[in-house]
């Protein structure tokens, strides 16, 4: 931290010198008496000034929060002398999702007294940032030394990574996969084996368990009949996130919706012993191999919160992803505004490759044409054309057995899952 004198020191020096000169030249001690407080403040300030440099560090009280929560940070200040400190957080400009100039950003500067005896911990808060991963370790610290003659100021710039989770969405239903693994789980399999759900009745054969005999059906038949059941299996759920920049200025909202849904789905499927993985297809291609458990949820959440949007015109496909991260016959749940052709093409490829695919369309509603615009008719026609193009995309996906549920922020995700489930029930026999 650099020390510099405040306006008090030059003021005091000038006042003292001028007062002494005037008193000496005019023979009026009143001028010298006027300067008495300034003499006192200089003597006391110089006597109390610190010789050791101040130290400061910043720590996050909690490195994970949910959108809407304030960010609590703790600054530890070590100073030699009593005084007061001023903390002015300087987080990155995009933490609140806009590019407001510095003087218009929320002011969160705080000041507190320090005793100069041991480290002093000061807690301050930042207003709730948008979802994502942010660095909030930048803090401007000003230490005001005794009597205000000097101040030390410096910028603490230590990386302090804050993860802001989207608001949790409680799901009451889940999408049932068409394809399952051999491991036991909770999704009903079409295979016939030991399980809970009734599948069919067949004649008793040697080796069948007596517990499987269906006595009610056997009583009406000349032969013994046994019940067959569907086993419960787990599945591999791959969350396919669209991070192509195609949503105009509302991109943050649209991707935010996708991430909100992805976190909710990951949490729900992981709680049901499914393996969940993530593939991000967009400006960059990233993936997290499927896994289970709380640690996997944290891996997925961290990857989702690290999503960045890069404009990229190159072709992207899923061929680069290793099979372990996109297992054959896995259940792919795509989260996308369906605005980028490359992403839609990837969905076709996945379906063609034998994956079970469903899409949650994070709806981007184009702004209503303003009646004041020069050509409202043309603007309205453009909106209709835009909607028509998207309807074509949805129909094309539906033809391939890919269910599309449209989700807007004001709707509950359960309603979208119900819409997708209904479609998948209708087409299950015809497209599998």
């Amino acid at each position: 931290m650099r020390r510099r004198s405040t306006v008090r020191l030059p003021t005091a020096v000038v006042v003292i010198v001028v007062g002494a000169l005037v008193a000496a030249m005019l023979g009026r001690p009143e001028a010298a008496l006027f300067t008495a407080p300034w003499v006192a403040v200089v003597v006391l300030g110089l006597a109390g000034m610190s010789r050791q440099p101040a130290r400061a560090r910043v720590d996050l009280v909690a490195d994970r929060i949910v959108v809407g929560d304030d960010v609590d940070l703790r600054a530890t200040i070590e100073v030699e002398t009593p005084g007061w400190v001023e903390l002015r957080p300087r987080p990155e400009a995009t933490i609140w999702g806009d590019e407001r100039p510095a003087n218009e950003r929320p002011s969160v500067a705080v000041a507190d007294a320090v005793t100069g005896q041991g480290p002093r911990r000061l807690t301050y808060s930042l207003p709730s940032p948008i979802w994502g991963t942010h660095d909030v370790g930048r803090l401007e610290v000003t230490v005001h030394e005794p009597y205000g003659l000097f101040e030390r100021s410096g910028l603490v710039d230590e990386p302090r990574r804050l993860r802001v989770h989207p608001r949790p969405v409680d799901l009451h239903r889940l999408l049932a996969p068409w394809l399952v693994r051999r491991q036991t789980g909770v999704h009903e399999s079409t295979a016939v084996d030991r399980g809970v759900e009734f599948a069919d009745i067949r004649p008793f054969e040697s080796g069948d368990s007596l517990r499987d005999i269906n006595w009610r059906a056997s009583a009406r038949s000349p032969r013994l009949l046994v019940s067959q059941r569907h086993p419960e299996r787990s599945t591999d759920v791959i969350l396919l996130l669209d991070s192509f920049v195609e949503s105009g200025h509302d991109v943050q909202t649209v991707v935010g919706l996708a991430i909100e849904a992805a976190v909710a789905l990951a949490e729900s499927h992981l709680s049901l012993t499914d393996r969940v993985g993530l593939v991000e297809l967009g400006g960059v291609v990233r993936w997290v191999a499927p896994g289970t458990g709380r640690l996997q949820l944290q891996r997925l959440t961290d990857a989702l919160l690290g999503t960045r949007l890069y404009a990229n015109a190159t072709d992207r496909d899923l061929a680069v992803i290793p099979p372990r991260s996109l297992p054959p016959r896995s259940f792919v749940v795509a989260l996308s505004p369906l605005l980028d052709e490359r992403f839609v093409a990837a969905l076709y490829d996945l379906r063609g490759g034998g994956h079970d695919v469903a899409v949650i369309e994070c709806r981007y509603d184009p702004p209503d044409p303003s009646p004041d615009s020069a050509s409202p008719d043309i603007a309205a026609a453009a909106v209709r054309l835009f909607e028509a193009e998207r309807a074509v995309v949805r129909d094309s996906l539906a033809e391939r057995g890919i269910a599309v549920g449209r989700w807007r922020r004001d709707e509950h995700l359960d309603a979208v899952l119900a819409e997708i489930t209904a479609f998948r029930r209708r087409v299950r026999g015809s497209v599998r």
């Binding site: 020390r3 007062g19 300067t35 440099p53 007061w84 009597y147």
Partner: protein, 190 residues
């Protein structure tokens, strides 16, 4: 050690308003005292003091620390004008004016430093008040020493003047030496 600072703490309205009001009140008192103690040119002394008050108020309004500091010049000038032509020495009034003006300047600077959305705790206010009180008490002690020195020597003698200038020069030299010695190169965080 836990801190009482809450980041959501709102700076209380009394703190925001008290400092400028205190500054202007102290400055107004200075005008009154100087006006009363002036014998030869009271109106001129008051006008000069009013310039100081105006500069102080302007500095607080536009958040300029320099303007607040510069206001000290006319404040001292008004006091000197007030003493011109008088035979006696206004010890008490001069010391009182000096202390009041110091309080006005400190309050003005505090209102600037604590403005701009800074949320301060009562501990900061308490510390600054304590420091100002200590300075005023020390100033009284300095004035007393001056009075003793002056009473020991004939009034306005050359010796007193030389002593005064020499002590100021010695003090400034000591302060400069202290400053240079106390500022080693800082290689620590941040």
């Amino acid at each position: 050690m836990s801190s009482p600072v809450d980041g959501r703490l709102r700076q209380s309205a009394p703190v925001r308003l008290t400092m400028p009001v205190a500054a202007l009140a102290a400055a107004a008192l200075v005008v009154v005292i100087v006006g009363r103690s002036a014998e030869t040119y009271p109106s001129l002394a008051i006008r000069v003091e009013l310039v100081a008050v105006f500069l102080l108020a302007l500095g607080i309004a536009v958040r300029s620390e320099r303007a607040v500091a510069v206001a000290t010049a006319p404040a001292m000038g008004g006091l000197i004008v007030a003493t011109v032509g008088s035979d006696g020495i206004a010890w008490g009034a001069s010391l009182l004016v000096g202390c009041l003006w110091y309080v006005a300047v400190e309050a003005g600077l505090a209102s600037i430093e604590w403005g701009g959305g800074l949320r301060i705790t009562p501990a900061v206010l308490q510390r600054r008040l304590q420091e100002v009180a200590v300075v005023v008490a020390a100033a009284a002690a300095v004035g007393l020493i001056g009075l003793l020195v002056a009473s020991a020597a004939p009034e306005r003698s050359l010796l007193v003047r030389i002593l005064l200038l020499a002590s100021v020069l010695a003090g400034l030299a000591a302060a400069a030496r202290h400053l240079l010695a106390a500022d080693p190169p800082d290689r620590t965080n941040p």
